[in-house]
Symmetry: C2
Subunit: 166 residues, 2 copies
């Protein structure tokens, strides 16, 4: 066992989850970003946690609107992940520019994403300051699956791996 | 997209990370449990988050001692994960009973685990109530890797999958 820096140790973390987080601004315009730091946090009530960098537009929109949707992207969405992580919703309409297909959510304003294996509608339940990020805890108020999709994407150090989930 | 229960949607979550969390009691006796709900939370300072059920002995020991070690288990540790998840440190000395090999940590009292690809020494930085769990946020005060191990285990719905990390 050799002592190394945290960043060196974290080169061994892969594969890591990747989720896409949708949000809306005060006018209902949607935005979306990819995130790797995400986990389930509770069974009852159903809670899901994400860690979002302070500077991200998503951070501002979650604080302001207190709602977000967590999606598990599926094979074929590699470019959508790369694109939505390469620019900011402050500057561009990512849905329009990339042609992402939004679906109306049931309980929250941010949209679901078509072609994802899972969509979780979340209402902000709490938050925890975490260094250069904030952990946002969302209560899952509705959950959706695409019954025709059986695999999700994982982040493999910038590349994407396909994992069959069942 | 079909609406389902949260637990039904989460059948699509796999593969999920699995980490082993080591702790100590007030006498320095170590314990260890597996957890799937774990994520990095911050680059600077380096922070790592886990969600631990209220009833777990690990929950009590983290609250009391305010230290823990996060490890990424490697191929060959499948039975250690299953064993440490099947009983409580309240009843048994898991290290002794299973023959787990502990190594002295540098900055904290809970031990490192030999044969893991990564060991992260953590001091409790904060916590957030999360339904039937608590999110514990640890500051990583020392990180270690085993240079001879290049793969970690993932949880694949009760089975374990091997992922080569680099």
């Amino acid at each position: 066992m050799k002592e190394v820096s945290f960043s060196e140790a974290m080169r061994r973390k892969y594969p890591e989850w990747v989720v896409l987080i949708t949000t809306v601004d005060e006018n209902g315009k949607p935005d979306v970003m990819p995130a790797g730091w995400a986990m389930i946090a509770s069974h009852q009530p159903p809670l899901f946690a994400i860690s979002v960098g302070h500077g991200r537009y998503t951070h501002k929109l979650i604080r302001n609107q207190k709602e977000f949707v967590i999606t598990f992207p599926s094979p074929g969405m590699e470019e959508a992940i790369e694109y939505t992580g390469s620019c900011s919703g402050r500057d561009v309409d990512k849905f329009k520019e990339f042609g992402l297909k939004a679906l109306k959510a049931k309980e929250v304003k941010p949209p679901l994403l078509a072609d994802c294996i899972v969509n979780l509608e979340c209402k902000l339940e709490g938050e925890l300051a975490a260094g250069d990020h904030t952990i946002f805890l969302g209560r899952v108020v509705a959950a959706h699956v695409d019954e025709d999709i059986h695999a999700r994407l994982l982040n493999f150090s910038g590349k994407f791996a396909v994992a069959v989930t069942q």
